[in-house]
Amino acid sequence: MGREEILNSVRKNKPELLPLPEINADLFNEDIDLLSGFKEKVPLVGGTIKQLTSPKDIDNEITMMYPNATNIVNRTQVSSLGTVSISDKTQPKDLEDVDLAILRGTFGVAENGAIWISEEQFYIRALPFITNDLLIILDKKDICQNLHEAYELISKRKRTFGLFISGPSKTADIEQCLVIGAQGALSLTVLLI
C-alpha cells in the first residue's frame, strides 16, 4: 500500500538537506558524585534504595523487606531466594502470581535514577512489569552520569529488548494525584552492592 506514495511525497516536499548536529557531551558534563547523585534520585522517582556493606547480607535484607513474598523469581547469582523457575517454556501469563522478581541491573544513571535492564537479565519480557514487586541489584561502581553516557554504554549490546526503569509503576491521571502502582510493579527496590 502507501509505501511508494509516502516516500515520493516526502521526496517532493522535504527541504534541502540540513546537517545532523554533533552531540558535544562535554556541554552536559557535571562535576558530581555519581553514587550520591544516583542515591538521591531513586527515592525522588518513587523507588527505595539500600546500600549493603557485604554481599552476604543480600538474602537477609530481601527477606526482611519482603517477608510475605512466596513466589519469587530470582535471575541473579548473588541471591538464592528464588522459588519459581523460568525457562523457554514459561509463558508470560504464567508469571501472573509472582510476588517478587530479583534482577541484576546493568548500570544506573545518576541524572534520573534509571537503571538499564535487558532481556538477558529477566529472560521473560513481561517479568519486570507483571511482578508485584521488583528488586534490582546493582554494583555501586556501575553508575554513569547521564543518558549520553548511558547510550555509549549500551551501544554494543545485543538488541532484542531492554529498558531504562526509573522507580515503580505510577500514575497521576486522577486529578494529578500521584499514585504508586498503576499497571506495572507496585514497588522498586534498588540494592547497591
Partner: protein, 454 residues
C-alpha cells in the same frame, strides 16, 4: 462552535477553571524545576531541534533505513498513507490472527485515525489501558490533553464512572482506591488480550528499533503478554541514531511532567520467539505539512504537552474547547493543516504570548506559526463580515495620516460623550466585563503642538 464559544461555556464554572489552571500550572512549575536541574538545557533544546530538522530534510532515506533494519530484526513494516489505510492494516492483522480482544496503550496517532470506533464497528473489543485514556474511554469522551488525557475530570466524576463501569464502591474519589480497582480490572484485560497496540515515541533508523515511554507500564504489559504487538507511528517519529535518544529522553519527561525520565523507557528491537511485532508507518497529512515551509517544524513535536501546560488560554479553556485530536498551541498549528475551515478559530485562540515556543523542547516557533496561520485563514476561510470590514477599514485609516487624525478624534469624542448604555451595549465585547479608557481632554498630537512646537 468555535474555540471562543466553547471557552466561554467552560468559563461558566469559574471554580473549575481555577482548578484546571492551577493543576496544569503546577505541572509547568515541575517542568521548570526539572529543567533547572539539567546543565546545558537550552543547548539540549538546540540539539533536539537540529536533529529533528535534519530528520525532516532526510526523511525518505531514514524511513528506508529504518524499514530495512526493522525487517532484518524480524519486524513486519506496514505503510499507511492515511487514517483509513492505517485502520485497514490493523483490521487485517487482527483478522489474520483471529484476534478478538485488543489492549491499547496511549497513542495520539490512533486517536487521530479514530481507530477505536473503527475496530469496535468490526466487532473487536478494544480497551485503552493508560488510566487516563481508560477513564475517557468509558466516559465516551476524547482526551483533553495528550499527556494527561482525563485532566478535565474531577476525582468525584471518576468515582461515579467507576461505580457504573467497574462496580466499585463509593470512595469520595479516593485516587489510590480507584487506581487500584482499575489495575485489577485491566490486569484481566492484559492477561486475555490477543493483540497489543502501542504508540511509538521514537523510531531509530540506525537500528530499526523503537522506544515506547510510559509511567504506568501499560504499554509493556500489553506488548509482552499478547502474542502480537502492533506499534503505530507517524513518519516524523524517526531519529537517525540511538545516541540521539540521549537528547530526547532527557527532554521528554522533564518537559512533560517534570520527571527526570518516565518510569519505563522500553527499547523494542526484535520480537520474541513465537510472537510477532508489526510497525505501521503513517503519513495522514504529514508530508503535506512537510511541504509548508512556514509550518514544517511543527513536525518536530515529540508530544510532551508542555505547550499545553504553559498556555494561559489552554489552562483556562480546557482541551475540549479546541475540538481537535491534539489540543492546545501545538494542535492549533497542526490542525489547520488538516482541515483549515473546521479549525480556523484555533490560531486565534492565543495572545501570541510566546510561552509555548519557550517551553518547547524541540524549539518549534509555535506562536510565530499561529501568526502565519492567521494570515492564511483570513484569505482562505470566509470571515465574519463585520470583523473583516472593520479591520480592512482600519488598514486604510492607518495608511492615511489625515483619515487617522479624524478617526482618532471621533473615537475619543464617542468614548467621552456617548451615553453609557450605547457604549456598553451587547456589540461591545470589551465593555462586558471591562471599563473603557477614560478620555482626557486632548490627544498627544494636540499636546505636542501646543507645548513643543518649535
Amino acid at each position: 462552535m468555535n474555540h471562543a464559544q466553547k471557552a466561554e461555556i467552560f468559563n461558566k464554572n469559574e471554580a473549575k477553571v481555577n482548578w484546571h489552571d492551577k493543576a496544569l500550572w503546577y505541572v509547568r512549575e515541575k517542568r521548570d524545576n526539572a529543567a533547572h536541574g539539567v546543565k546545558g538545557w537550552e543547548q539540549l533544546r538546540d540539539l533536539a531541534s537540529g536533529v529533528k530538522a535534519h530528520v525532516l530534510s532526510n526523511l525518505d532515506e531514514l524511513l528506508i533505513e529504518f524499514e530495512t533494519n526493522a525487517q532484518k530484526n524480524g519486524i513486519t513494516v506496514h505503510w499507511a498513507s492515511n487514517a483509513e489505510e492505517h485502520n485497514k492494516i490493523i483490521n487485517k492483522i487482527l483478522t489474520e490472527k483471529n484476534a478478538k480482544k485488543v489492549v491499547k496503550s496511549k497513542s495520539m496517532l490512533t486517536e487521530e485515525c479514530h481507530l477505536n470506533p473503527y475496530l469496535e464497528s468490526k466487532g473487536f473489543e478494544v480497551v485503552d489501558t493508560d488510566l487516563g485514556e481508560y477513564i475517557v474511554q468509558i466516559a465516551k469522551e476524547t482526551p483533553s490533553h495528550i499527556v494527561l488525557p482525563a485532566i478535565h475530570k474531577t476525582k468525584e466524576e471518576v468515582d461515579t464512572l467507576f461505580q457504573e463501569h467497574l462496580g466499585t464502591k463509593p470512595s469520595d474519589g479516593n485516587p489510590e482506591y480507584l487506581t487500584n480497582e482499575a489495575r485489577k480490572h485491566l490486569r484481566t484485560k492484559f492477561l486475555t488480550a490477543d493483540v497489543a497496540i502501542t504508540g511509538v515515541n521514537f523510531a531509530i533508523a540506525e537500528t530499526g528499533g523503537f522506544v515506547v515511554c510510559t509511567n504506568e507500564g501499560n504499554a509493556d504489559m500489553g506488548a509482552h503478554l499478547a502474542k502480537t504487538h502492533i506499534a503505530c507511528m507517524g513518519i516524523e517519529k524517526l531519529i537517525p541514531k540511538e545516541a540521539h535518544l540521549g537528547i530526547f529522553l532527557r527532554l521528554l519527561a522533564r518537559s512533560a511532567t517534570g520527571q527526570p525520565i518516565t518510569t519505563y523507557s522500553s527499547h523494542f528491537n526484535k520480537p520474541t520467539e513465537g510472537s510477532e511485532m508489526h510497525i505501521v508507518i503513517v503519513d495522514n497529512g504529514r508530508t503535506e505539512q512537510l511541504s509548508r515551509e512556514d509550518f514544517r517544524s511543527s513536525l518536530h513535536c515529540i508530544r510532551c504537552g508542555a505547550c499545553m501546560n504553559t498556555c494561559p488560554i489552554y489552562r483556562r479553556s480546557g482541551g475540549h474547547s479546541y475540538d481537535a485530536t491534539i489540543p492546545g498551541p501545538i494542535g492549533s498549528i497542526l490542525s489547520p493543516g488538516k482541515d483549515l475551515t473546521k479549525h480556523s478559530s484555533l490560531p486565534f485562540a492565543s495572545t501570541l504570548c510566546g510561552s509555548c515556543s519557550n517551553v518547547c523542547p524541540v524549539k518549534i516557533n509555535i506562536h510565530e506559526q499561529l501568526y502565519k496561520w492567521r494570515q492564511i485563514i483570513t484569505k482562505d476561510v470566509e470571515q465574519p463580515v463585520v470583523k473583516k470590514t472593520i479591520l480592512k477599514m482600519t488598514g486604510k485609516v492607518f495608511s492615511k495620516p489625515k483619515f487617522y487624525g479624524l478617526a482618532g478624534r471621533s473615537v475619543r469624542f464617542m468614548l467621552k460623550y456617548a451615553p453609557r448604555f450605547l457604549v456598553y451595549s451587547k456589540l461591545n465585547a470589551w465593555g462586558k466585563a471591562r471599563e473603557l479608557p477614560q478620555i482626557k481632554n486632548g490627544n498627544f498630537d494636540q499636546w505636542y503642538k501646543e507645548k513643543r512646537s518649535k
